[in-house]
């Protein structure tokens, strides 16, 4: 699969025409990207700190995880959609940026961790799961999303 061809296509697409020409539209989409990041970060931290027994201790962790997971799904869809639009404005530049690839790799790993590890594990009764496994998963989950955010910010300074 030719990845560069995809970036060339994105750079010349109608999406890029809009993102490059209309600064106001780009800014609005960027706000949605930031709001989605806030939602994702907030939901991840809330769920994981509940698993660690730091906050919302009077609410069953199953309830907190179920509610936060719904918003993690919404935030990820919004992040990816707005992210593709924003990337279209600087597609070729991003292709040559190693921190962009670090962010994409950690994002893909984060999505894998959420849907293949965290969610299937937390579908079980939390009382039946080894408490140390719960703690490790909570810390690893926060770590992964920290790395995604930090790599994303690194793009701007590279």
């Amino acid at each position: 699969m030719d990845v560069f061809a995809f970036f060339e296509w994105l750079d010349a697409s109608w999406l890029a025409s809009i993102s490059k020409a209309y600064g106001g539209t780009f800014a609005v989409v960027q706000v949605f990207h930031l709001l989605a990041m806030l939602t994702l970060g907030g939901m991840v931290i809330t769920g994981d700190l509940r698993l660690l027994g730091v906050l919302l201790k009077d609410v069953p962790s199953e309830v907190v995880i179920d509610n936060t997971q719904k918003w993690i799904n919404v935030a990820l869809v919004a992040l990816i959609a707005s992210g593709i639009f924003m990337a279209s404005a600087v597609a070729i530049k991003l292709y040559y940026n190693s921190f962009f690839w670090a962010k994409m790799t950690s994002l893909v790993f984060g999505i894998f961790f959420v849907y293949a590890i965290r969610r299937p594990l937390l579908r079980y009764d939390h009382g039946s799961i080894n408490p140390w496994t719960l703690r490790l998963v909570a810390v690893a989950s926060m770590t992964i999303w920290f790395v995604v955010a930090a790599s994303g910010r690194w793009i701007g300074f590279s």
Partner: protein, 41 residues
């Protein structure tokens, strides 16, 4: 997948993630300390 298997995979992968992040950011911090030492002695 049984809970026991899932617990082993989740625990192992989590340890790997946490360990890798600690290693990566430790290297970054050491780099900064080295730069500070070069700059200010």
């Amino acid at each position: 997948m049984s809970l026991a298997t899932l617990e082993k995979i989740a625990g192992g992968l989590s340890l790997l993630v946490i360990g890798s992040a600690i290693w990566f950011y430790s290297v970054q911090i050491l780099d900064v300390l080295e730069l500070l030492e070069l700059a200010y002695g």
